[in-house]
Symmetry: C4
Subunit: 210 residues, 4 copies
């Protein structure tokens, strides 16, 4: 069976690539009259550290989402309307990430810290849910998947996204208590995905080569 | 016969992906001195609801247009200048959607409501017309289409776009009377496309497999 | 011989698609306090007509450049450094078009009219020159071209770009005298490209099928 | 062995294409009331020369990085997590280039000149390091590479990036002394890459055809 999802992947890659590249627009250049010398500029850049943190955090979060998107669609060979719209939901949320990022960059320091961290972690909870939805809709109909995929592999992918959910929820809860912890949890998830991604892939390749 | 429209589809996908992702730039982050605490931020975000509504409405409208574009070009195997320029017209209008969206976001509440909703629904009328034009130009010359496509399938696609036109015109008319109804009609059309898209596809696939 | 220029075309398509879609960012939404009712908005939009004109003119100019880029690269099967960098020059100028477009949108009315039209037409002169350069560099080494391409076809493409040059120069000259004529000439070139594009293509396809 | 890196290349091309095209947004259009006639506009544009210089410099730097990315991935046929994340690091830095470019455009003239040139050359040092890292991670595991690639070719690519590092470091050092020299060094590296790129490619193609 030929893979039919080429154009859906191309479009998704486009949205991921643009979403990730637009993030840089939230790094602000100081106004011309506010900077007199190199020292002023260094102070300005130092004070803007939440913007740089938010930029790095969102860039690699979206990048890892793309890696995961890639991995899921390697197993999806055909699509129906439900899969198309679940994918649309993911793309919508990914394209929206730059807004909570901009809020985080500007208000992480100060009284509104909890709210902006809650909104920021909240969007990752929603993205995690939409990945779970996509895989649920794709895998409940085995005709859509790569021929020869094993039930173990299907379950493994499902668990991978399912286990992310409680961690994102913990990050969301911490935002109301110690916002910094939330961001550390999200950072920690990168390492989780990076490590687990290796293992799943190995498994899937094995089942592929048989 | 080999499909010759690969690069036109790639370029179109790029324009759709960028148009849809740029929409987020219309969500404004509040000025630094206007927000003192979390409450101020929540109030700011609540007052910005037309911007969020416009963002969601335009994102999924363009996304569904992309799905439809994909579906049409699955049937187009070759192209001539007329098809190229009809496609260019669609891309022009799609790339322009973010401007009426920004107007809607800022002026949906207030005296200019009717005008911005009329402009917003007006661009969807034009996009619908340009899809009708594209399919008319492509299908009047059967050499451009997928070999083996049936007349029933051609007619089915034509009707799909043709029936959308009066509905968009109704939305346009309502904008001068009860603007909210216009937006509900556009929202309703999503469900129409999503539902009808499933059926057409099934039909075309059947005729494909024969 | 296999076509080796796939990734260069993909990258170029990306730049064209983004350049064309970013143009909409130059359409300005009026400030919130400047618009009291629908009438104010209509007056604002009417006064912004040079921005809409510049948007339409630049969109279709870049779109036609993309069509021509597509057409040239259908004949180029292999690439060397010279072709890569000539293509880079085209992409540089295409990505820059939005700046003269923004100048045109803001200053077409008023004293600076000649200068902005001269800059605007000037960039099209440069783009035309870089297309001539690309085709010169690609065609002087027949090993880079599609196997079986005839000398007549090579000459035909060359003439197509060569004849555009004096017309763009005329547009440039008129900008210092009657700027409006310059824009009409550029608009007229669309029709020239659209018409001639059909004919060249037919010729090339014939030579292809033989 | 089939090439498995198609989608990673497509995504990377997207990021490069967007990063390069967004640079134009840093060219500012003068405020409406500041320009009375054509002369005012010419003076404004002349004073903005560092912005144009930064635009040209960054555009072709990213373009050459893309050419090099293309060249490396022509040799990489398979990928593991390490290669994916090294590539992510390159894309992160490439997408960030527009920020140092904007700083350079605004502060190259004046007291903060050294700092902005140091930041600007600094990001190129980091990009060079991440290219070295990518090739190190890809080539240490010959299973990931194009079957039949020779050790000479692997070494040649490695040297190509390795030799760039001291030159970028020299540019970085000069930024604290004579900032203009730094920019000339970066410009000089273009010629180095363009010239060396030709030679390496020739070598690789020979080893390919054998």
């Amino acid at each position: 069976m030929e893979k039919e999802t080429g154009r859906i992947e191309g479009f998704s890659d486009g949205v991921f690539a643009i979403a990730v590249t637009l993030l840089v627009l939230d790094l602000h250049v100081p106004e011309e009259n506010s900077i007199k010398n190199g020292n002023d500029l260094i102070i300005f850049l130092k004070n803007q550290w939440p913007a740089f943190l938010a930029f790095v955090l969102s860039f690699f979060s979206i990048f890892i989402m793309w890696v995961n998107h890639h991995k899921i669609f390697k197993q999806i060979y055909s699509r129906n309307s439900a899969v198309t719209f679940a994918n649309g939901l993911i793309l919508f949320l990914v394209s929206a990430v730059s807004y909570p990022t901009a809020l985080l960059a500007r208000y992480f320091e100060g009284e509104a810290s909890s709210i902006v961290v809650a909104i920021y972690t909240g969007i990752f909870v929603l993205i995690n849910l939409s990945y779970n939805l996509l895989w649920y809709l794709a895998s409940k109909n085995k005709e859509l998947l790569r021929p020869g995929i094993t039930d173990v592999a299907i379950k493994k992918i499902q668990n991978n996204y399912f286990y992310g959910l409680p961690i994102y929820l913990i990050a969301l809860l911490f935002s109301f208590w110690i916002p910094t912890v939330s961001l550390i949890v999200i950072l920690g998830l990168w390492i989780f995905w990076a490590a687990s991604s290796g293992k799943i892939e190995m498994h899937l390749n094995n089942s592929h080569k048989r």
